[in-house]
Symmetry: C2
Subunit: 354 residues, 2 copies
């Protein structure tokens, strides 16, 4: 397969972890005989510094032309400590998501057996947990009309959804369930919210086209409990923007390895892959940043294009690094391995198991 | 102190657990020389059966005249299995909260050391957790304008808050913090929502009147993580209706003893106290229902009227029953104690430790 991949290293540890992800993609190219091309562009604080724009036009054009975007990290303490700053690194990512119409945020929650002791949950509850959250990313209350009266005493936000917005992500989630364990859970608050009732109606209707997928429903307050009490019950969770924000952040901590989690933001024409961790500027250039989340975001990229065997080869190489403790010091304080060495180990262990 | 208490036993195990709570209040009267009067009224399925109304007028009048309402439980499978039923038991409680203008829902999350093994969280994370959630109960998106267009393809819900709605519950929460560890955390999403920014502005202003209370802020998605990662950090959490629904349900399961949790719903003129568990109709009349949540709701009633020593005496008696395993079979499968015996034990152990 030929793929044009835009590389956006961004700030902090972004460049060094992204470099390891690219190593792994190159190993996949070689092992499985694909042809990926990579073009790099500026985003975030570094783009503000060099181009006075957190998302320069050349970067946006490159991303639009690419099949996929591999993203490092964004953010710099210089801006965090200045609440008055009008131009901020994070705007680069937000605008990019909007321009590329990335309407679905995908967050896998999967437990690494060798890291299970890091989980805040007891082992018998968390072990074998493996689910994936499809969160609607461009609608709902975060983007609805905001009002405040002249006196500043009454404020409101509107949560609005259309059938079309629900339908396009629902199809993605059902397709994902078909490739997994055939279970889809819609998280909503349909006993109270009109918008949730529309979600339920539209998703139920679409479900008829996926008869092999069992669809069930959970109110968001109950979902917040079930993720703690019995996370194994979930396969694919589908939900609206704000519920997805809460539920996916809750889900991200139960495994105890939040620094290893990857995510995808997907649209009809494009897709962006990134670790969920931030730019961690304190670690920049010290060769201690953990590249695994970035490498796993590359695995999600491969899956997005149907390269499941290739993605599995990456995941197995990652598992091997964890099992053999070829990891950065955040996972093993005694470890002597740096960012680049971990990346090399994983890339070298990408093999075709057929 | 003289208190007029309305007793609403309701359905299922409601009557039998409420009876134990009353025993304990009577023990408090005797021990601490108070004078409480009790009047009972119908609510829920039993009220529908006898009066064709889940909240008969006589019940509402009784509650309005009372200083506080002690509530059992509500709900009957007959209605749960009939989605077409127009009159439902739960309407009785919802209307009562509305009529009494109970705008603050208060949910303590406190760990019982003897039940810590039931928690889904690891012991070192959950131990010594002790916080209380103040959830706004009558405003926000659950009660905002709901719309659906004629074609049924676009639906919306409005989240609206006024300064007054925020202010009255904020004062309650600050006062609670003053009586505890002087820390208040406002949970919101002020980086995105206009209504959250109003919450932050109003709560910050009110905080100036409570200089001894340290106020901090947490976005709701981060709060959903922190409750799992480090629940000990919280003292009083204040939040709007929907965030409170999610966060308090999440909080209710981390202790592993959801069946023992009590709650209060408080207004300017009245207050209602109830266990958070349901009517559990399968256990009705079998003398196996756990009365502790109902007894702890009576302790919250005492605290509401400033009877802190009395409430502490009730809590210490409950702790004793747990330590000595004088508990119902849900907490100890080998236990021979019934609902009434546990109630008797706790009531007999209410002593003035002065
Ligand atoms: Mg979030
Ligand atoms: Mg709830």
């Amino acid at each position: 397969m030929n793929l044009k991949i835009a590389l956006l290293p961004g700030d902090g540890i972004g460049p060094e972890v992204l470099e390891q992800a690219v190593k792994c993609l190159q190993a996949v190219e070689e092992t499985f005989n694909h042809n990926f091309t990579y073009k790099e562009a500026l985003v975030g604080a570094i783009a503000i510094e060099k181009k006075r724009n957190p998302l320069p036009n050349t970067t946006l054009e490159l991303c639009k032309e690419a099949d996929a975007v591999l993203f490092g990290a964004i953010g710099d303490p210089k801006y965090d400590n200045d609440p008055e700053a009008k131009i901020r690194p994070e705007q680069g990512l937000l605008r990019l998501r909007k321009e590329l119409e990335l309407f679905a945020n995908i967050r896998p929650v999967k437990i690494f057996p060798s890291l299970i002791h890091n989980s805040p949950l007891k082992k018998d509850i968390i072990s074998k947990t493996d689910f994936i959250i499809y969160r609607e990313l461009t609608g709902g209350i975060y983007f609805g009309e905001k009002k405040i009266n002249a006196e500043g005493t009454v404020a409101s936000d509107l949560c609005e959804y259309s059938e079309k917005e629900i339908s396009r992500i629902a199809h993605l989630a059902f397709k994902a369930a078909k490739n997994r364990r055939n279970k889809l859970t819609l998280v909503d608050k349909a006993n109270v919210l009109e918008s949730s009732r529309l979600w339920r109606k539209v998703v139920t209707k679409i479900g008829e086209s996926y008869p092999e997928v069992v669809l069930d429903f959970l109110f968001v307050d109950n979902a917040a409990m079930q993720i703690i009490l019995n996370p194994r019950q979930f396969d694919v969770i589908l939900t609206e923007n704000m519920f997805g924000d809460i539920i996916s952040d809750e889900g991200s901590v139960i495994g105890g390895s939040i620094g290893l989690l990857a995510s995808a933001s997907v649209g009809d024409e494009n897709a962006l892959f990134e670790p969920i961790h931030g730019s961690y500027p304190q670690a920049k250039g010290k060769d201690i940043a953990n590249p695994i989340a970035s490498i796993l975001s590359a695995a999600m990229l491969l899956e997005h294009f149907g390269l499941f065997e290739e993605a599995m080869a990456v995941r197995e190489a990652v598992d091997k690094s964890l099992e053999k403790s070829v990891v950065t010091p955040d996972l093993n304080a005694k470890s002597q391995y740096g960012t680049g060495q971990v990346g090399d180990f994983i890339a070298h262990n990408i093999v075709d198991s057929e």
